[in-house]
Symmetry: C2
Subunit: 479 residues, 2 copies
């Protein structure tokens, strides 16, 4: 897991933060937040908040009291301890793309399959820069809908030994995920003591939390499993068309969800979520890798720290339909601010294409390349007499070159980051090599990576118990 010891890039002046602070308070108290769950409404009512129909009018001070119960930082162990992650502080953890129904592989765009899903998990396991495959790396459309979550969970738990995300389609699916986590890690007590999954609870922005998401939220919070309370905002559609309004709304939504999480189980680990981009106001299309999303990301980090919460944002977003120059610059347009903001939990880190509708194998490789470069760039350099290299100048002199100097000989192996995808071949050599662009090279690389994949070991008894659980539940669910 990466520790970002570089400075945070913060762009909100204190007065700006004050104005945002005033704005979210008005939203939660005057407009209120809708919770489509009787259990949620009852908890808020018992806690003294005014409830009308499904709308809770929240006292901002009450919200902040609840928020203060959440831990500032927490650990999430993986079944392989070397892949344990920490959420909060300077730690940054990275998961793959989440949610695409389609897959792109070379020139082909098609429905995602379970074999695609498994291959993305194998890649996530193989690249060290990723801390998790995430959850729904692509939708495995060829598996039965009711029991799909069982198939995905089993794959996440057996094809990778990294942290996994919990299923949130329903409370039932969440309960299955928790039960399988108990099997994998040794019981309910164990996972309640130190959580083993992170689950994404999206807001139906603006200002509404839906019933199925809340059912999953209840399950995970009761089991003390971390939840990412995420306003899902495409500015102009799910929020007003201005960034400040979207930020204020994002605070109102995230904090209201976090308050509920703390009512369900005080101290439950939570993550301040952000999924913030904008639409093209001419066509209505969602757009990604935009300047607006970059600004929003930088502000979100500062806001989350203001409330003492770890946060989720960022990723390798792009609107591009293929892995072209646009995909390259848009992905970095989001990933660079992701690092500048010190994002704690980064979803969509690898594989996102075509507005998130497509999981792309080539884009996955490209994003891993970007993550490696950025982790290198955001590692403070060491300045000492050795790295200042005065003796190299004594050896080389004026107008000479350093390739053969002692100072170089001692360091050339690891002095610079060496990319695995980017090419700096001269033109003739590149032409002789087939004139492959980055997309074509990425296509070769992921295939090699899949060929060299090795499944991580797992205790036979645990594997059998997981498989037995899946088989039994599949039958119960009627698939």
């Amino acid at each position: 897991m990466f520790i970002n010891r570089m400075p945070r890039y913060e762009i909100l002046a204190p007065e700006a933060m004050e104005q945002l602070d005033g704005a979210w308070r008005r939203l939660v108290s005057e407009i209120g937040i809708e919770f489509m769950s009787d259990r949620a409404l009852e908890l808020f009512r018992q806690a003294g908040q005014r409830v009308e129909d499904n709308t809770v009018f929240l006292d901002p001070e009450f919200v902040l009291e609840q928020v203060a119960k959440a831990p500032r930082e927490f650990d999430v162990p993986a079944r392989n301890p070397k892949n344990n992650i920490h959420i909060g502080g300077d730690a940054m953890a990275f998961g793959a793309v989440y949610g695409p129904p389609f897959v792109r592989e070379g020139e082909v765009r098609r429905d995602g399959s379970f074999e695609d899903y498994r291959n993305f998990l194998r890649l996530s396991q193989s690249y060290d820069v990723l801390d998790s495959a995430g959850g729904v790396v692509c939708e495995p459309n060829d598996t039965p809908l009711d029991s799909r979550h069982l198939d995905m969970n089993l794959a996440l738990m057996t094809l990778t030994d990294k942290m996994y995300m919990g299923n949130v389609v329903s409370g039932v699916n969440a309960a299955d995920t928790i039960r399988m986590g108990e099997i994998l890690f040794g019981g309910r007590d164990v996972i309640e003591k130190t959580p083993v999954s992170i689950s994404l609870i999206n807001c139906n922005s603006p200002l509404r939390w839906d019933d199925r998401m809340l059912d999953a939220l209840f399950e995970y919070c009761e089991a003390a499993q971390p939840v990412v309370l995420t306003p899902f905002i495409l500015m102009g559609a799910m929020s007003p068309v201005t960034i400040p309004a979207a930020l204020a709304q994002q605070i109102a939504e995230a904090l209201s969800g976090i308050a509920l999480a703390q009512l369900i189980r005080p101290g439950c680990p939570v993550i301040f979520g952000s999924f913030l981009s904008n639409i093209d106001m001419k066509t209505g299309s969602p757009t990604f890798g935009t300047p607006e999303s970059g600004i929003g990301l930088l502000c979100t980090g500062q806001i989350a720290r203001h409330f003492g919460l770890p946060f989720r944002s960022g990723g390798g977003m792009t609107s591009s339909q293929i892995v072209d120059a646009q995909a390259g610059y848009e992905a970095l347009m989001t990933l660079m601010p992701t690092f500048l903001a010190g994002t704690n939990w980064v979803m969509h880190s690898a594989g996102w294409l075509d507005g998130g509708l497509v999981a792309s194998f080539e884009k996955f490789v490209m994003d891993v390349q970007l993550l490696e470069m950025l982790q290198y760039e955001f590692t403070p350099m060491q300045i000492d007499p050795g790295s200042l290299g005065f003796e190299a100048h004594e050896e080389v002199g004026h107008g000479g070159h350093f390739l053969g100097s002692m100072h170089t000989m001692e360091r050339f192996r690891d002095c610079f980051y060496r990319p695995f995808l980017s090419s700096s071949d001269n033109y003739d050599r590149w032409m002789r090599g087939g004139a492959l662009d980055a997309n074509a090279r990425a296509g070769q690389l992921y295939k090699e990576k899949l060929e060299s994949y090795e499944q991580p070991p797992l205790d036979d008894a645990i594997r059998a118990e997981l498989e037995e659980y899946v088989a039994r539940r599949r039958k119960e669910l009627g698939d």
Copy 2:
């Protein structure tokens, strides 16, 4: 011209700056700097510095005294006042790529021609985001070598009305550039009062200033025209293989050149230059858009401010041979730090491809797209009751959408930056449109831009005098 009112991203701790400070002092005083020019050596000798052969051993305090004579900020007018630029402070000015011998257009890579050169000038004139075409946007290989600078100068002065860069191939070429500037702006007095060009004086790193560059330096400084004293460092070849060593060397080289400029003409405007990347230690190839160059760029900005000098760095660098995903992410990997560092004079802002060997029309368009996005991103947003949009929430309510709200209607035209190259079309629409990647779309866009180009007006008498000067000098130079 862009004013960057966002915070600077600074990563050097005070102790790190102290160590760099100690290191450049040792370099200039113990190793010394080579100046391959008797005039330069004589000036240093007269100023009390120790000179042995071509090496000047500089007293660091003397260097700082000279540096303190340079202005912190200065104006460079263009012949069209709306294109005037300012160098220093929060101002950022952008020029096109500089120096490539080759041109890429679509699938063809070939020697640059004078018509290519003129077309890049027309594009530079047409895109508002660029403040200058720069100088040698590509090498016009089909023009006679001795008088090529006259052809380029005349093109820069007539096809654009933006600021131009001076020719530095020799003192003679520099003198011609200055003389043509006098014609264009109304005499030597005028341009000595307010300079009209910026010229690039590269160091033959490590620690050597060559004779031809110094001859040009003398001409420009005597005419009070700004010079960019630029250490040309590919780490591992022209400097030791560590970033701190390269930074210390860069300070030593840039400050030594600036000291000479101030000896030639105290108060002459100068720019602290940086061209800093690294080589691939396995192949020896130069590499661009690397994490190391990003770190170097951020540090360079902080260092230049430490010495109270405006600085040049950055651009849309890439090693990629074509306009693919790598070109996209590498260009932004340099351009984003360019903005984070608040670079004052940005060369290579548009068109750089293939390690700088190629000027690409498509890459030019892509880089303009990136510059527009970044200028938007680095403009502070306005936070006020209007942008916080509380009334929009009152109108829309929970779970609604904002597309038709009053708040949106009042702002939708200019609420977000709308890209001209990036596509957010849905997949079907994109396929129907020909499934063009960003490179192909850029190819259409530059052709349209060239078709709609309009030559800026110029007084007939001035044009005639410039043409007459070029004809006379061409004859004198024997072409």
